[in-house]
């Protein structure tokens, strides 16, 4: 029996369509159909100059805009051969980690929502995310589509009331997060539903070029912030949580632990940051790299390895902007994830991979 889990569905993380063939309760064949949110971002990027593309990158993975900006600005800086000043790097790291917390809060909240908990953890995680978005509003004027970073740094320094608000948020969030852990991590119903379901072996994960928390949940301790550090990550101390079986519970656990590690990084940034310029001062308003230069700027986004491949032809706009979207590549394991499991597990497993259709379809 073939069923269409259509693009409009309360729990497929956006407009994602799956055609599933069932045999009773068990899934036999899966065919994902993508493209419902395709907006032509890569083509649009060829018509806009290098700073205008920053506003485009916000909207790809709309749950983690700062990290998209960071990846793109890294790529442009590679094209131009410049590095941002120290304070700019620290601010970027701080903001990226805050955004990682916000993105993982969405992932965790919706994961539990699909398990059926009627949204209590969702409400708690969104309550915490609201405070992070208020912090972003203090920094750059917008909550979700931030456009905070520019090639050469960030566009503005922090206002005076940002640092007390950040400290207050960190203290409150530590308490709230511990509450969420008490609510979720030892819950026997949750472990009964998610342990052992849809395991991914590390070889399969590497062969399918999966990255991010999904890869780390399978046991491979690969994180681009440690492998090729960018911005200020080489000065930060943090651990990489890894799972053991690669099942749903491990992916969920890895995300919860990453939130904790991100809080550690934010606290280190607060201690280590010093006054100074936040952006390279004498960059022209319209950037023109040299002809024929290419750059590949990669970051560890909240969903995996996000990278921008830019080719320049000497003009004001990139000649080609290719986005390596982690959610799209992570969808390679869809059939290994779903075949052989039942329908309720399908919803939960897809939620545990944490895809974002804005990124998949660009």
């Amino acid at each position: 029996m073939t069923v269409n889990v259509g693009p409009q569905h309360p729990s497929t993380h956006g407009v994602f369509r799956l055609r599933i063939t069932f045999d009773g309760e068990e899934i036999v064949e899966v065919e994902p159909i993508l493209g419902y949110l395709h907006r032509g971002s890569e083509k649009l990027a060829e018509e806009r100059n290098y700073v205008q593309v920053v506003t485009l990158t916000d909207r790809m993975d709309y749950t983690s805009s700062m990290i998209n900006n960071q990846a793109y600005c890294l790529a442009v800086e590679q094209l131009l051969g410049i590095t941002p000043p120290k304070r700019g790097k620290y601010l970027r790291t701080l903001v990226a980690e805050l955004q990682r917390i916000a993105s993982h809060l969405i992932a965790v909240g919706f994961f539990i929502q699909e398990l059926g908990a009627f949204g209590t953890p969702l409400m708690y995680s969104f309550r915490s995310r609201e405070r992070i978005l208020d912090l972003f509003e203090m920094l750059c004027g917008a909550r979700v589509t931030v456009s905070y970073m520019r090639p050469g740094g960030v566009f503005a320094d922090t206002p005076n009331d940002f640092w007390p608000a950040l400290e207050a948020f960190l203290d409150d969030f530590a308490v709230e997060f511990e509450e969420m852990e008490h609510l979720l991590m030892e819950n026997e119903i949750l472990t009964a539903r998610t342990r052992g379901v849809s395991p991914i072996s590390p070889d399969l994960a590497i062969n399918c070029s999966v990255s991010g928390p999904v890869l780390r949940a399978s046991g491979v301790n690969w994180d681009w912030r440690k492998m090729s550090p960018y911005d200020a990550y080489d000065e930060m101390e943090f651990d990489i949580p890894i799972g053991r079986n690669g099942d749903n519970y491990d992916r969920f656990w890895v995300r919860m632990q990453e939130i904790k590690q991100s809080m550690r990084i934010v606290r280190q940034c607060i201690d280590i940051i010093e006054p100074g310029p936040v952006r390279i001062a004498d960059l022209p308003l319209v950037l023109r790299p040299e002809v024929g230069v290419e750059a590949y700027g990669r970051v560890e986004a909240s969903k995996g390895e996000l990278a921008f491949y830019l080719v320049s032809d000497g003009g004001v706009a990139p000649y080609r902007c290719k986005v390596r979207a982690p959610s799209l590549i992570n969808l390679t394991i869809t059939e290994h994830l779903l075949v052989g499991w039942t329908l309720p597990d399908m919803i939960v497993s897809l939620g545990s991979v944490d895809i974002n259709m804005g990124e998949v379809d660009r």
Binding site: I189, R193, N221, D239
Partner: protein, 407 residues
């Protein structure tokens, strides 16, 4: 009907019936006054159940809101009390469609089939001291039998919808309901044994201490079992919103859906009333002659709060896990409870079969630690299989990176 017969009937024991009968008897012949009195009480009960169901929907939304650290609906009326009316108006104005190919008669009859047993159940619950519509001496059996009649309604809904997903949802729901009947019934046998009769009024009278203390296992099994029978989280696979099978009421819209939904909420209300009667002592409390109804209401609300609290906290169980819970966890628990209670009652009762207050305390002292022990033990057995997963040893790891591992 002969006036003398009316005075001897069981209805005459009810003070309210007596009052209306006597008042109407001054105006009309006694057969009419019998009808008037009976109809009045019946209408009061039916209306109170439906109104109670509506108020419980309001209570549920506001309580869920507070448990989520937000406000529930508060726009319509003070504290949002008119929200059920707003929902009702919205549902009434929706198009009432019957899907093509569906069996019209059965499709339309389903809300009625589900509503009638619910209202019937309220007939035997004592609301205040010795105040109930019918003091049946098989009260507990009546409640159990009638509450299972809603199962037929669910299956009728699934079958007549001409929708294979509704049929699947209904079949799953019926499977869950049937498997949870057995532990529920067995758990109530302990209560019946202790109080010596099945009439609910007698059970309340026999509760010098609430049976919550004397029969904790029975309370746990009963609450869990009824949670599953009411299709409430964590057992609500039949109406899971995040799965494509939307359950047996997929094709219902408008007033039919409103009635089905009211039945589900009303069933929660009535079941809470039954739990309050059987386990918490019904209308007993200080000043029970005047305030019996108040204590009854308070205890019912406490149980409703527990249902809503559990709904806000736990995720959903999968179907095979629900069945495993019933047959492998609740059924042995209830059987062990029955055995222990039978032994205790046999040893402790005196010549007339009556158990005194001291006996009840002794039973409580044995049963409560036994309950904690048994639940933990069986839960441990139940969970052991899930956590024994293979540990990987060969994983490509990058050396020198600080890592944390999951337990």
């Amino acid at each position: 009907m002969n006036c003398q017969l009316a005075s001897d009937s069981i209805f005459y024991q009810n003070a309210l019936y007596r009052f209306i009968y006597d008042t109407a008897g001054t105006l009309v012949p006694c057969s009419f006054s019998h009808v008037i009195a009976g109809l009045t009480i019946m209408l009061m009960l039916v209306n109170s159940v439906l109104l109670g169901a509506a108020l419980v929907t309001w209570l549920e939304r506001r309580l869920l809101g507070r448990l989520h650290n937000r406000i529930g609906p508060n726009r319509w009326g003070p504290f949002g009390l008119l929200q059920p009316i707003a929902d009702l108006v919205k549902l009434i104005t929706k198009e009432d469609l019957v899907p093509s190919g569906a069996d019209r008669i059965i499709f339309t009859a389903v809300p009625l089939v589900m509503m009638v047993p619910l209202v019937l159940m309220t007939a035997v619950i004592p609301f205040a001291q010795d105040t109930m519509l019918a003091d049946l001496n098989i009260g507990v059996l009546f409640i159990l039998a009638v509450s299972s009649a809603t199962t037929i309604g669910i299956f009728m809904a699934g079958w007549s919808s001409n929708n294979r997903y509704a049929l699947f949802g209904a079949a799953r729901s019926v499977a869950v309901l049937i498997s949870y009947e057995v532990p529920v019934v067995i758990s109530l046998l302990g209560v019946v044994m202790i109080s010596g009769s099945m009439s609910l009024n007698d059970i309340v009278h026999a509760q010098s201490i609430p049976f919550l203390l004397v029969q904790p296992i029975a309370l746990f099994v009963f609450v869990t079992g009824m949670s599953a029978e009411l299709n409430r989280t964590p057992f609500d696979i039949a109406e899971a919103e995040s799965e494509i099978i939307a359950g047996y009421h997929t094709e219902y819209s408008g007033i039919k859906f409103a009635l089905i939904f009211a039945t589900e909420t009303g069933a929660m209300l009535v079941v809470s009333a039954v739990i309050a009667t059987l386990f918490l002592g019904g209308w007993t409390g200080p000043l029970e002659d005047f305030l019996g109804w108040f204590w009854f209401l308070l205890k019912t609300l406490a149980i409703i709060f527990v249902f809503i609290w559990v709904r806000a906290t736990y995720p959903r169980l999968r179907l095979d896990q629900i069945m495993a819970l019933s047959w492998k966890f609740l059924l042995p628990l209830s059987l062990i409870n029955l055995a222990i209670t039978a032994v205790e009652v046999f040893l402790l009762r005196d010549a007339s079969g009556h158990l005194s207050l001291a006996d009840l305390w002794i039973m409580a002292a044995i049963n409560i630690p036994m309950a904690i022990l048994l639940i933990l033990l069986m839960g441990g057995l139940f969970q052991k299989k899930i956590n024994s997963l293979p540990v990987r040893t060969e994983t490509p790891m990058v050396p020198g990176v600080p890592t944390i591992e999951v337990k």
